[in-house]
């Protein structure tokens, strides 16, 4: 059993950049990706801000290194772009050199196509090459699309636990390596903007009509985003001689078991997930230098998460911020996108600010970091991701010690 999980590559695409370098530049320049919707038509496009990747599906196809006849769903294309960057950055020349798997995550899968074509699917008079998108509706389809493009064959799976999905794909991938079933796993997730999700969250009345304000007393809700991220996890054997970006040193999953959508007021599930994550490598709360919070900007999440953090850290909360005001809430992809940000934080000893924060919440002991902080050594980052259905997950990324 390989005890350590090394991260050797990463790739990301979201509203703040098409790759890791662009994303890092936006994070450093406090450049939010939240704006108005361009790429899909919606009745809400003028009054509900979102964080969209500013590229059409055709442009994404080219960006993914494909020809236009190889086009797929937006979810699959975003995923492939990030996965290719991750594989490239890990310096993988021969994907078959080690037993390699892919674990992806998504909440909407191919819904972006389904919602446009549903009536045509049901109309047997109509036909066309678009019929191929019927199969692409399934969540697993984008994973197989990415796997086929990369030549990954040894193990494939896809996870959907709402907004914690890609934290769980990272966790599952790490465990597959620890059990000796794989040497290398490309883990992450992808989700695209759809009318389905915009309208869904709108019915819950939790979408902010302005840029979201995580952990602010006057927060009004979240902004939806889209994007994808993948990181490459390797065993000691596979990572030998490579540059190690960071180690995955903890992971925890639990269920809040409180309500189908809302988090419990005391954040019991969140607390358990963070506690489990610390336990994996025997870390203490005081070892954590920075928390990349789930921090969606909804009234309920930020209070629940903040309360759990206050309890776990006995009100000695380290530097903390939510980066959702940059990327929007990218649902199934948010955990891995924030994993990439956490690794960047370690690599550059930088804490990215919690944008749009003004007024502190009186229920919480801490205030998030609101300016770009550089210079403090960041060894361990805790990253939280929570979702509908009470799914709560926490990950810990650590500096690689030679």
């Amino acid at each position: 059993m390989s005890s350590k999980i090394y991260i050797t590559g990463m790739g990301v695409i979201s509203a703040i950049g098409n790759n890791v370098a662009e994303s890092f530049a936006s994070l450093e320049n406090l450049k939010s990706g939240v704006g108005m919707l361009d790429n899909i038509r919606s009745r809400h496009q003028d009054h509900i801000p979102v964080a969209e990747v500013k590229a059409t599906n055709e442009e994404l196809t080219i960006m993914a290194g494909l020809t236009l006849d190889q086009q797929s769903t937006r979810t699959a294309l975003l995923g492939l772009i990030a996965a290719k960057e991750a594989v490239r950055s890990a310096g993988i020349k021969d994907i078959k050199e080690f037993r390699t798997g892919i674990i992806s995550a998504t909440s909407v899968g191919g819904m972006g196509m389904t919602e446009n074509l549903w009536n045509d699917y049901l109309d047997t008079e109509k036909t066309g090459p678009w019929l191929k998108y019927i199969e692409a509706h399934e969540c697993g389809d984008s994973t197989e699309f990415i796997a086929d493009a990369l030549g990954v064959k040894d193990y494939l799976s896809t996870i959907s636990t709402a907004c914690s999905s890609s934290a769980n794909s990272i966790m599952f991938g790490a465990r597959l390596i620890k059990h000796g079933l794989l040497d290398r796993v490309i883990v992450g997730g992808t989700d695209s903007m759809t009318r389905f999700t915009i309208n869904g969250f709108n019915t819950l009345m939790i979408l902010d009509k302005e840029q979201c304000k995580p952990f602010d007393a006057n927060r009004q809700g979240l902004n939806l985003g889209e994007g994808a991220g993948f990181i490459v996890l390797e065993s000691e054997k596979a990572a030998k001689g490579k540059e190690i970006l960071a180690e995955l040193s903890g992971y925890g999953n639990s269920n809040d078991a409180f309500h189908q959508t809302a988090s419990s007021p005391d954040g019991a599930g969140a607390y358990l997930a963070m506690e489990k994550a610390l336990k994996i490598n025997g870390l203490k709360p005081s070892d954590i230098d920075y928390i990349n919070a789930h921090g969606t900007g909804t009234s309920i999440n930020d209070l629940s998460e903040g309360t759990a953090i206050d309890k776990l850290f006995s009100k000695n909360v380290p530097s903390i911020s939510s980066t959702k005001a940059y990327t929007g809430h990218t649902l199934g992809a948010c955990a891995v996108i924030e994993a990439v940000f956490s690794i960047l934080s370690i690599k550059h000893n930088t804490i990215f600010p919690n944008l749009n924060y003004k007024t502190s919440m009186e229920e919480l002991s801490f205030k998030p970091t609101t300016v770009l902080e550089k210079g403090k050594k960041i060894n361990n980052v805790l990253s939280n991701s929570f979702g509908f259905g009470g799914n709560t997950s926490a990950l810990i990324f650590s500096r690689h010690q030679q």
Partner: protein, 364 residues
């Protein structure tokens, strides 16, 4: 890695729920889309909770509930389920409302319940179970991923009992959509004739099957799960055989040790040849059975086969409804009375020839 199958709850197109019977009678559906025989849910859910729930959620709660009782487990240490399509009925309902009302006057209930993890989440919510909770959504690997996670979780040492399950539902509209890309047959085929069909496509199915996997044998144990392997888009029969050999040899077995093989034969002339190749060559000495004529084809049909294999071992009998033609070569009879012991059972299943899976179960 291994786990004891200590409890089962299954709702399917056959009479499998709330009974010890093992397919003594076959329910003929006269349909190209087999739907589950559903119980009354009053016993499992209070009406205030049930009023919002779509069929698949109720099936999931009822089947898991019976499964826990069967295993005499109150709260599992982990919940992991597989579903390719999630809560299809609610997804469709919300999608239709968006299209028909042009994004106006939408209500949240069907959206909330459309997320793929709703069934796992509702099981946890009913039990107030705050433990590990996962939902796998990878086509023909959905249930298989949940089972592997279950075995890994038991091997990690802290969990004693985990719930693994597979669930998918079919709707009238989604059937019509999938029918457009050749998933299903044009003609209706009688249940026991499906295996002889020479046309393309299969029949649609659905189901919700849950199992308690435990780290120790108990009074209720059905069988021991000794391993699982998935094979993605195999290029040849040799590749399939070498993966099966890996699984068998890691358990000190060879093909000759397998008493019964449960094949995912679904009457689709395009894909059944893989099964027949295994049956006539690699497993030529094993008794051959099949199951998809009873539950239909769906991404998590492996969970129905998992029930079949568990029952084969526990009852030490093979119902005639699943026996393939002339393959009583090892002396089994349909009632098992004079048969040899059923010690080792292997399941071989694929979804659309792309996602292949192998499960190994043994008597214990």
């Amino acid at each position: 890695m291994e786990g004891f199958i200590n409890g089962i709850g299954i709702i399917s197109p056959q009479k499998t729920f709330g009974t010890d019977d093992f397919l003594s009678e076959v329910v003929e559906h006269n349909s190209k889309s087999l739907r589950c025989i559903e119980p009354s849910y009053k016993e499992f859910l209070n009406p205030v909770l049930a009023r919002r729930m779509a069929r698949i959620i109720k099936m999931g709660i009822a089947a898991s509930n019976v499964c826990f009782k069967d295993a005499k487990v109150e709260i599992p240490d982990a919940i992991m389920t597989g579903t390719a399509l999630g809560c299809l009925e609610d997804t469709e309902k919300f999608l239709l409302a968006i299209i028909e009302n042009d994004e106006q006057f939408l209500t949240p209930t069907s959206f909330i319940q459309s997320t793929h993890n709703t069934v796992s989440a509702q099981i946890a919510l009913q039990l107030k179970c705050m433990n590990y909770n996962f939902t796998y959504v990878h086509k023909g690997f959905s249930f298989e991923s949940a089972v592997l996670d279950g075995l890994m979780t038991l091997a990690e040492g802290e969990a004693k009992n985990v719930l693994v399950g597979g669930h998918d539902e079919m709707t009238d509209k989604y059937y019509r959509v999938c029918d457009r890309i050749g998933y299903f047959k044009e003609e209706t085929v009688p249940t026991m004739e499906l295996i002889n069909s020479k046309t393309n496509g299969s029949i649609a199915g659905e189901g919700a099957a849950f199992f308690v996997l435990s780290n120790a044998k108990s009074e209720s144990t059905y069988a021991k799960l000794r391993g699982i392997k998935t094979i993605y888009k195999p290029k040849s029969n040799q590749e399939i055989e070498s993966k099966i050999t890996e699984l068998l040899s890691s358990n000190g077995l060879t093909a000759n040790d397998i008493d019964v093989v449960v094949y995912g034969i679904n009457g689709d002339a395009r894909f059944d040849k893989t099964y027949y190749h295994l049956k006539d060559n690699f497993f030529k000495n094993s008794t051959a059975t099949y199951f998809k004529h009873l539950c239909g084809e769906y991404q998590t049909a492996g969970s129905f086969a998992f029930w079949v294999a568990s029952k084969l071992i526990k009852t030490q009998s093979i119902p005639s409804a699943i026996l393939i033609g002339d393959s009583r070569s090892r002396g089994f009879t349909s009632d098992g009375e004079q048969g040899l012991a059923i010690k080792n059972v292997l399941i071989y299943n694929t979804f659309l020839d792309s996602d292949h899976s192998v499960f190994l179960l043994s008597q214990c």
